[in-house]
């Protein structure tokens, strides 16, 4: 690999642009192809979506997706349990909660922490296809504007904490905001796989399992 190609791969990573490096394993020739050149729904596009590098004839197609990112709304107990698992799975974590007492650096070390309203932070952050999103405050005042922005974005996972009753009320509010049934099915709520989780740590396991499933297998 030429150092110049390495620099271009690293630049794409910093700018959160997905690119592939195509290597002819017989000749050693290499070229970089941006995801923007992959037709929607094509095998090449799917390779990006599912992070699947593979051989194609003599060519090896390496996928360089932007780093995974997790945005959590709510500096709450479950967030504290989710964060270490998410970080060990390779996510850069951002926690947003306008309540200063919750969003304290002492409670949330080692993450990007914003004690602001989600609607002020999220547009700057840029929610993209390599981002997972969780609304964990239980408070519609904080969660709803954030969910609105998540639903309008390409995030690969949207989880929302709350009982079935809370979810029903949430869907009613989002429906009034103009989100149709199909769009709202992107929200996983009650959040997490059904594994009978007890307590914040086990809920964190179920939530991370659900987000991983969405990342690797897609929503189904």
């Amino acid at each position: 690999m030429k150092a110049e190609l390495l620099n271009r791969l690293l630049e794409a990573r910093r700018q959160r642009r997905a690119v592939a490096m195509v290597t002819n394993t017989a000749t050693g020739e290499q070229r970089i192809v941006p995801r923007s050149e992959a037709a929607a729904g094509s095998e090449f596009d799917k390779a990006f979506r599912f992070d699947k590098a593979a051989m194609a004839g003599d060519e090896f197609i390496a996928i360089y997706n932007p780093p995974l990112r997790l945005v959590i709304i709510g500096a709450v107990l479950i967030a504290q349990s989710v964060i270490p698992i998410a970080q060990s799975c390779g996510y850069d974590v951002t926690v947003i909660d306008p309540r200063g007492a919750f969003a304290s650096a002492a409670r949330f070390p080692n993450v990007s922490l914003c004690a602001d309203w989600p609607q002020d932070v999220l547009p700057k952050l840029g929610l993209d296809a390599r981002t997972g999103f969780m609304a964990l405050t239980h408070d519609p005042k904080i969660d709803d504007p954030a969910l609105e922005l998540a639903l309008k974005s390409d995030v690969f996972y949207i989880g929302a904490l709350g009982s079935r009753k809370t979810q029903a009320a949430r869907h009613e509010r989002l429906s009034k905001m103009g989100f149709d049934d199909v769009t709202r099915t992107r929200i996983s709520g009650p959040i997490g796989l059904s594994i009978g989780a007890v307590g914040a740590s086990e809920i964190a396991v179920s939530v991370m399992a659900e987000m991983t499933k969405a990342l690797r297998l897609g929503l189904s």
Binding site: M1, A3, L6, N7, L10, T25, F60, A62, I63, Y64
Partner: protein
């Protein structure tokens, strides 16, 4: 820091660098296709191409490549004659593309 960032940092320090990439796997393999390992001329390394089973051999091959140049394909598996030395206990097979970064 991932393998590419490490490779870039090492190049910046004037070190010679080789990159190993898993290009195919068969059966059980602990590291997916695309996993990378970066090696310098002294055998320092970052990243992984297996669960630690074949790293030693990949590193020594990488050092040789840094000295001689050119890309190379390495293959490891239970059927390999080197199975005892560097075989994959999991029973899988992997193919690795080894190249210098210059």
């Amino acid at each position: 820091m991932n393998a590419l960032e490490t490779a870039s940092a090492w190049l910046g320090e004037g070190r010679k660098v080789a990159l190993a990439t898993v290009i195919e796997t068969w059966g059980s393999a602990p590291q997916p296709v695309g996993s990378q390992l970066v090696v310098d001329a002294e055998g320092n390394f970052e990243g992984a191409v297996s669960g630690g089973c074949v790293e030693g051999e990949v590193i020594s091959q990488a050092q040789e490549l840094i000295a001689k140049g050119g890309p190379k394909i390495l293959e490891f598996g239970v059927a390999d004659e080197t199975a005892w030395r560097v075989g994959l206990a999991c029973g899988g097979r992997i193919k690795i593309y080894l190249e210098t970064v210059v």
